[in-house]
Symmetry: D2
Subunit: 177 residues, 4 copies
């Protein structure tokens, strides 16, 4: 169902129209931090995607994407998680709509720690435990599970762009690390 909904809604907006909207309105996004937890709900691992950027750079990123017209925030989270982690990931979207933070991405750097050269995007960020098997999909080369200690290493954080390193650190602190 998520698939069908997504297909239908993508057609709401042509590439051209989306580009135009991106110059006029803040665009609503969701960010998901996929985690593995133990039987008490305590954090074991966090997942980062490895992608090749257009310029041939390798970057690590969280699951992230746009909320479509008519789409629930929780449906958008599931759609992007399925797109990046595959259909068998079994994500547990949190029952409350309260995000752990809101990340405001501006086209110009320095307004906030978050930056998106394409647009003014406002992202609702959630922690999402996943219980199934994850398989990188589409443009993701690889999915890597890190312990909290590994994820907080300078070398890992340095591979994340646009302020996602700040969001990841926030997520890990929010989880009590």
């Amino acid at each position: 169902m998520t698939e069908a909904t997504s297909d239908t809604m993508s057609s709401w907006l042509s590439r051209e129209e989306l580009d135009s909207a991106r110059e006029r309105l803040p665009i609503l996004y969701v960010d998901a931090v996929p985690v593995r937890v133990d039987s008490q709900g305590a954090l074991l691992h966090v997942a980062l995607l490895l992608r090749a950027s257009g310029k041939g750079e390798i970057t690590r990123s969280l699951v992230s994407g746009r909320v479509l017209y008519g789409e629930r925030v929780r449906a958008a989270l599931l759609r992007h998680l399925e797109k990046d982690l595959g259909p068998l990931a079994l994500p547990r979207v949190p029952p409350s709509p309260q995000p752990f933070t809101v990340a405001e991405h501006f086209p110009h750097e320095g307004v906030t720690p978050f930056h998106d050269p394409r647009q003014h995007a406002v992202s609702l960020a959630y922690i999402v435990p996943v219980e199934g098997d994850c398989d990188p999909q589409q443009d993701a080369l690889e999915l890597t599970w890190f312990t909290p200690e590994e994820a907080l290493m300078e070398s890992v954080l340095a591979e994340m762009g646009g302020g996602q390193d700040v969001l990841l650190q926030h997520a890990l602190r929010h989880l009590g690390c």
Copy 2:
């Protein structure tokens, strides 16, 4: 400065363009629940605006409005609070961007408790203590301060439309009432 920013940005989008965007994209809003607190931060009163709707109905509402392109969420909160409560209200916008909830308004009723016939609007909701003098501005007829008990009365909640009664109840529970 808020004023200037607001003027400039309103011109980003003509009425026609905004109408078109409203049929294609979720529109980002903020909701503010203006409160008076005592010296320990405990809730004393909550403010509701009295407005005349287009159809001549009288409704009560929270402070609410759109986030503009290039505008920080906290600047949008201040702009709408100033517009509705006047320039001397001295609102204390919360230091954290984490909203107490996210209200998803759909053009069709029943998807969530929130409803907006004009658009798919996603609203970040914040509690905002105000310390100064409030004066209803623009299309608001009156500003009324209610004790928590008064605000939770059926007769008051019934005068709020679009699910704002649900948001108000949530705000009061969130404040420990």
Copy 3:
């Protein structure tokens, strides 16, 4: 393991010593609101326990209990959920320690909406999705699953004591109802 931990720790404090501590210190509690959610994480049902009070009254309640010396908050949540819902309930304790609220129970009524004649108790409240089979245990007569609409009915709320009706309403609002 939870069991073993619990047994050991209960012996930390005799009944007499606990009674004495209750007159001197705020006692740390957890409250859990057990819920069933759909595949998108949206609320379907909330569980309330039916108990017979000492005076022969029938009351409905959330899952609630003390945090023991040396016990993690998440271990206390699991222990009380297992005690009340049985060992097959499969509760998903949230990964973040941030509670949706803190309920302060005082021995005298009226300080907050929460009241506990035995003690000054401060309770960290969490929403906990349960995925398995629930069976009322120990002093609980029955476990009933309510839709959000049913749970918000006056007749149901009236059967809850000590301010738990306020906590339940808050939980349901927090979940977007």
Copy 4:
């Protein structure tokens, strides 16, 4: 009034009795992160106290202390802020009881990032804007205001003990830094 309340309640528990309780029960604490914000509520500076520990070491710390029997959490926050920042600090205790996190301190290191050799302490952590003049009181040698960038420097974090560096980092992330 806070003073009077505090005096009365301290006498609830002798030093001996408190020591005994500390071996049997988790003790409820509050942590306050004192901040200066601009007119939009955005973080400008965070305050850290400089103290001399019993062993002659110099450490930096947040405002922190016990919740007394019969005391509201918000009253405890105000009492400890006044004790450490002086009577003219004008702290704005947040209107909602929801803490941004809960820090569980165990007597043994490694269970969580938080550690307190004296006791099992569970601390509710809040961000508190202060608007007045601060003067270090009692055992605090000095109060220093740091920009977010300064506060996140390794050299500053290294001067904080018991996991307070983790709590400070969390607070700054929570504020959008």
